[in-house]
Amino acid sequence: MEAPNSFKTLKADLLSGKYSTVDLVDYYLSRIHAFDGEIQSILTITDEIAFKKAKKADALIKKLKAKAFAEYPLLGVVVGYKDMFLKDGVRTTAGSRVLNGYVAQYSATAVEKLETAGAITIAKLNQDAWAHGASGENSDFFITKNPYDKARVAGGSSSGSAAAVASDFCLIALGTDTGGSVRQPASFTNLVGLKPTYGAISRWGVIAMSSSLDTVGVIGKNIADVKQTYDVLKGEDGHDSNVRLQTKSFDPGKKVTIGIPKEFFAERLDPEVKTKVEEVINTYQQMGHKIINISLPHTKYGISVYYIIQPAEVSSNLARYDGVRYGKDRLAFGSEAKRRIMLGSFVLSAGHYDAYYLKAMKVRNLIKMELEKAYEKVDVILAPVSPTPAFKIGEKQGDPISMYLSDIFTVTANLTGTPSVAIPGGFSKSGLPIGFQLMGPRFSEDLLFNLGQKYQAQTDWHTRKAVL
């Protein structure tokens, strides 16, 4: 048996009886048992839940045939969740020892929506503790390996989500993207990663890292799967007051104007990444799209702004794990969480608020306005996701600043609340995946998917698999 490469093949296989949903769950579990000892992408396996749901799915397919897929758009889709997502009755840790053994008392809206659409939950996935990190090395449990080179990181903080999909432990995974935590691991593992518009998908039941930046993201094997998952996830749920869905119509056949921001191609960019992203730009140009150079001068302050606002919100959101509840005292926090709690408490303290937090909020607004202005001239922006391909485990440990700079190209979308999709764009000479991102104005997801699909129709990077 071979794992399906898309929702489309999954549906065809299930309908033709090539395998049943139970077979599929069995298959994924056998892969997990065979390979996750090394990859270490999973924190909790929910096999009982998965088999129960798979049996139901098989019964539905038997009874309703193709109609079952109209009613349940994600029927049989096996999904893993970053351990930030609460699932009622299942251990949920946020990758931190502080919550080790914590059993969720309710489910996240995102989890409920996918399950209602027919998806099958197979595992809760590893991550940097509290989503603090860009490599997965800050997990309080173990370090997830990159399936393309196990000496390297899978990216982070949604390290397990990326590695699990790339390893065929599930077909799709949810992550959270606060500064790049879905897009960067996706681009390190040859996958599509969506960071949606802030306010498109409810964060209810997703452990908060930095509330004004956090988004629920999707990691999948191709644009179509990610789009279909996004369509199920989006919309108001009565719990997240920031969700206000808007739709933006566009002409799917239209040739667009793509902006290339010169600041994203500056000295920090690895030459191999630069070359690959330039090839992507050429591909779009050959398709007849217009490429123009633009400048976003304030985005260079993005990381500075991000590392003030984000720790501030982190220090606030982690305050509830004060040792009174959840069974662990505050000593259980890892060093990165402590660092951010200290930083955040400092920038919010009375004597420093104006100089740091308030100023950062002002610059954030400037970046927002700068991007809005850019989108008056261009439809989308194309840029690298990460300055380098996946780096070696331990390479950046002990140097938090260099780790923080991994987010340099991704934070802009978070600070401005705009969507961005990371898409596989090829491989380095040593065989490491390299991704690019398409960014657009708020609620332009469908345009980004449309352009991404056009690229994937011309290329086959996304169909290549890691050899475990």
Binding site: A208, S212, R320
Partner: protein, 439 residues
């Protein structure tokens, strides 16, 4: 040493009586419920939970602000106020910092003095700690039923100089809240909580450079006494040339003295930040105006109305100080309009005889009053007798009447009433008298 003047400011917390809590759909009523039965992920501060603001509570706060002549912010937001305490499940309280719903209110005391109200904001209440012994072990338990109940906080400027003004102010605030129907403002249940800060200054001095906070005082009377005790204590310290230590003090009602609870050298840093989970709130001026126009009569308006009815100060205060009685009285005088019963009479039987307690419906009271009136009046027979007596004694007046001097009727009625000891029903007396005279 010059004359020392008290400088007093107040912080008043009032729990709103909305159906649901401030940021979730749990019931807001928590008094006497079994611990931790009225809770959800939001008010327990569980991982992943998000707040949704209760609109009713926001409008109630705006109503309160309008009742105190406040400016209503057109743009407002919630903020996080951080501190650690076991009854605060998130490690922060959702409150309001720099953009409260209401600012710059005023309140005029009976003596004409104006108290400025700095701000009124909305926040969530905390849980409650219960200290007790379980299986021989002293433990502290947390009950989160109260966690997340909407709580208004009103802060006055330090404009009070006299504890009796504080007392008047607080009683009136409690009354206003009840008239607005937004809280039961019950001190015993803790749905109204008081804090005062007090210092003394010399007559021509600016604000003093210290202040004492009085906390955990659960009645108006005790606060007044605590303030008085504080004035004496601080005066003694200042007169020796020292300065009272800045601290929080409680009140010992047995000894009638205040005592130190907590000394804080510096103000606590709450690390306020905008609440990212709740979008900022724009408040439409037109809606505010509509609410303003729909506010019910407040105690002062009732006082004015009752004054026009020539009620005594005592009657007015007794009726106004209880919203239900005031409304009852209103309805009663409305019904009484068609009968020969005065507002004064109704007020009298309510205040002096508590007759409104016996008759839950004002109509019932009026019916009873009419019956009493009938029973009390002289009977028809008695009136006839009195008329006959008076007419016999005043033959001249009768002659005058027959000669067209009809104004003597008034004189005759007076005489008849005298004969009846004032118990004649006016209409009946007139009727019988006229009949007799026409005979």
């Amino acid at each position: 040493m010059k004359n020392l003047i008290p400088v007093i400011g107040l912080e008043v917390h009032i729990e709103l009586n909305t159906a649901t809590k401030m940021f979730c759909r749990c019931r807001a009523y928590h008094f006497g419920e079994k611990p931790n039965t009225n809770v959800c992920p939001v008010c327990l501060g569980l991982p992943g939970a998000l707040p949704s603001a209760n609109k009713k509570a926001i409008w109630d706060t705006i109503k309160f602000g309008l009742a105190l002549n406040s400016q209503i912010s057109s743009f407002s937001k919630f903020d996080r106020k951080h501190y650690f305490y076991p009854d605060l499940p998130k490690g922060y309280q959702i409150s309001q910092y720099d953009l409260p719903f209401c600012t710059k209110g005023t309140f005029t005391l009976k003596n004409g003095k104006v108290i400025n109200i700095r701000r009124i904001h909305l926040e969530e209440d905390t849980g409650k700690l219960i200290h007790k012994t379980v299986d021989g072990k002293k433990v502290s338990l947390v009950d989160y039923n109260r966690s997340g109940v909407p709580l208004m906080e009103m802060v006055t400027e330090p404009d009070f100089t006299d504890p009796s003004d504080v007392d008047e102010f607080l009683k009136e605030i409690q009354l206003i809240v009840k008239y607005l129907g937004i809280s039961d403002a019950d001190m015993e249940k803790g749905s109204m909580r008081l804090e005062a800060n007090i210092s003394l200054k010399e007559e021509d001095q600016g604000l003093p450079d210290y202040k004492i906070e009085l906390k955990n005082i659960n009645s108006f009377r005790f606060l007044s006494k605590a303030l008085q005790a504080e004035i004496v204590r601080q005066k003694q310290i200042l007169e020796t040339g020292s300065k009272p230590v800045q601290e929080t003090r409680g009140y010992d009602e047995v000894k009638n003295t205040t005592f130190s609870q907590r000394t804080k050298e510096e103000a606590q840093d709450y690390r306020y930040m905008p609440e990212p989970d709740i979008p900022p709130i724009t408040i439409n001026e037109k809606v505010v105006l509509r609410i303003k126009n729909k506010l019910p009569d407040l105690p002062n308006q009732k006082r004015k109305i009752f004054k026009k009815l020539n009620l005594s100060e005592h009657y007015i205060e007794t009726l106004v100080s209880d919203k239900n009685r005031a409304l009852y009285f209103d309805e009663a005088i409305n019904i009484a309009k068609d009968h020969n019963i005065s507002a004064k009479e109704i007020a009298s039987v309510m205040v002096n005889q508590n007759m409104d307690l016996k008759y839950p419906e004002p109509a019932g009271l009026i019916k009873k009053l009419l019956e009493i009136q009938k029973a009390d009046y002289a009977s028809q027979k008695e009136v006839k007798g009195a008329v006959n007596v008076v007419l016999k004694q005043n033959t001249k007046a009768v002659d005058d009447y027959k000669n067209g001097k009809t104004q003597v009727v008034g004189f005759l009625i007076g005489q008849i009433q005298k004969e009846l000891k004032g118990k004649g029903e006016v209409k009946l007396v007139q009727e019988i008298l006229r009949k007799k005279l026409e005979e």
